[in-house]
Amino acid sequence: MAVVIFKAVEKCNSNCIYCEVIKKHQDEIMNYDLLKLIFTRMNGYLETYPNESISFTWHGGEVCLLGPGYFKVALQLQEEYCRETKSRINHLVQSNLTLLTQEMIDVFKKLGIRQIGSSFEPIPNIRGFGTKRDSHVYNRKFMEGAKLLNQNNMNWGVIYVVHRLSLKMPLEIFYYLTNLNTRSHPNFNQVKIYSEDKNNLSVTGEEFADFLGAIFPVWYKNKERYPNIQPFSDYLRNVRDHDLSMVCESSGGCSHKWIYIGPEGETSHCGRTGDYNVLTYGNIKDLTFDEIMHHPLRDHLTERQSVLPETACKNCRFWGICHGGCPLDAYMTSHDFMQPSPRCDTTKIFMERYFEPITGLHADFPPQYVT
């Protein structure tokens, strides 16, 4: 399955303190001609590969800035240009929910969207509107959006970005987020700041591991109450069930899976590389999906999976659950894809300090085990 991170708009109505996308100051919105081309390209790809499907993630910026009319056009274009292949296009949405309306939800439903990914922050003035990041108004709008989704029986879940201010209150944040929506549980990600850390928000791998470690015993004891907290659920599945299928940065298999498409048709490897203009593959106007999916630059990432087990990750017993981590993280810190992600500290510390002593399980997945 190909995963398209589609950013028809990179503008946002919010001014979240850690967001890298808004720093691009990209005000363009993808025009309808280009949107039509995207659907034509997807159709071509799906016709060539009859067993393939596309996960088409509407991402931003804030997608709701596009308005319901934009999504109606997308639906129309899909009907027209993907007549035989549309059943293999699975639409997903990432939104901050603050601009959500019933009209927007109605068209989302027509696109087959049944859940929305979002983010939330209980600590004030981290996510919010305007220069002061007014989180009070932002949170009220968010709740209105969440209410609307619940009234429409649509699921929503949040990613929580762990930053320096979160470190003081891991359990409170955990309880808040699991109280916010009992049906979907949060995914904890470490804040990623590669430029100057003006607000002193970055955290070390060890700090992030300790943050997770403060929550882990509570989660482990109450797994049925909070069934799918990431990264805990995946780590447990990996180690207990020897099921080493991971997603995104820990999968070791992102090389030929993702495509970022920006507002002007520019493409890159994934949403995050698109944010930093790394691994750019050219413009969709000039390239087919197939050409982008098999772009020679992607081979670096495939190669990384054979280089690391022989070098920096040799004999590492956590290889099977980390695979060297996110290639972009490695590149942004060392300008070399053939390095492990600096985030591997988190994995090692969390597993050795918390996961293994608490669960009594032992992770032993060095490269030779996995191959």
Binding site: P122, N139, R140, M143, A146, K147, N150, E172, Y175, Y176, T178, N179, L180, T182, R183, V218, N222, E224, R225, Y226, P227
Partner: protein, 287 residues
């Protein structure tokens, strides 16, 4: 269309207008029971009869003919067990649940006695300050007790309706959840809870307004009140047990030693009960 059960007084004029609706009739007067019985047989779709009395339970004289009435008795006091004993047969034959006030310590013992005698019962857990330690003991008895006993509310209701992916409101037990119950008086004033009705905190007036209740803003806000709690970001929003207590004790000071401890234990019990209910059972090897 939402069709709530209406909690109302025993008022013939009002009940005449509520004929096609399910009702909970509440009264403070045991003497009106014969009249209610007559009306029930004639025209009322009775969900339950709620009797609130200052009399100790042991002094209430149960009658055989009440056996058909779905009754809930709220008494302030258990009374004397020796006085209750001769009534046990009739109580057991009745379709009754007995609630006692949490403000008398011996009521907690009384509830265990009733439960152990297979009489459905419960604590009138209405948000007032109370003895949390006794509450916790009773909850443990109700949920973990191995000796056969009748349900003790709101514990039994909560654990049997609990699902980890949902919020669970035990106030259903007290007819105080607008998703199912609304409160109405003789003047056809409508409120979300009994207390709201008494305090004049109304959401609407007139029986006709019930037909479009889903369009009532206050009604809708009440169904979504948890978002308001999350926005306030007070202690309850960060509490592990919010999903079952729903900030009912938000005004209590020192939650760490009171509601928080009790509801965290209660939530553990709900999880325990849920896992037992959903386990496929342990199959021991056989000789």
């Amino acid at each position: 269309m939402i069709d709530p059960i209406l909690v109302c007084p025993f008022d013939k004029k009002l009940l005449d207008k509520l004929k096609r609706r399910k009702v909970v009739i509440h009264t403070n007067d045991l003497n009106v029971l014969p009249h209610i019985l007559k009306e029930v047989n004639k025209s009322i779709d009775l969900h339950a009869l709620k009797i609130q009395t200052e009399k100790p339970l042991s002094t209430i004289v149960f009658e055989e003919k009440w056996a058909t009435l779905p009754m809930v008795i709220y008494s302030t006091d258990f009374g004397e067990f020796k006085d209750l004993m001769p009534q046990l047969g009739k109580i057991r034959k009745s379709n009754v649940r007995i609630f006692l006030s949490p403000h008398r310590e011996h009521n907690f013992t009384g509830l265990r006695i009733l439960s152990s005698l297979q009489i459905s019962c419960g604590i009138n857990f209405n948000g007032d300050p109370l003895n949390w330690s006794l509450m916790n003991d009773l909850m443990h008895y109700a949920i973990y007790g191995r000796a056969p006993h009748a349900p003790v509310e709101p514990f039994d209701w909560l654990v049997s309706h609990y699902h980890p992916a949902d919020y669970t409101d035990y106030d259903f037990v007290y007819f105080n959840n607008p998703a199912k119950y609304l409160h109405i008086n003789e003047k056809e004033q409508i409120a979300l809870t009994e207390t709201d009705l008494l305090n004049g905190n109304l959401i609407d007036e007139g029986i006709g307004s019930l037909d479009n209740i889903e369009e009532n803003r206050k009604y809708n806000d009440s169904l979504n009140f948890r978002y308001e709690i999350m926005l306030r970001m007070n202690e309850c929003a960060f509490c592990s047990a919010f999903r079952i207590c729903l900030a009912k004790f938000s005004s209590l000071p020192n939650k760490k030693d009171t509601c928080k401890v009790f509801f965290s234990d209660f939530l553990d019990a709900a999880d325990y009960y849920y896992s037992i209910k959903n386990s496929k059972g342990k199959h021991l090897w056989q000789l």
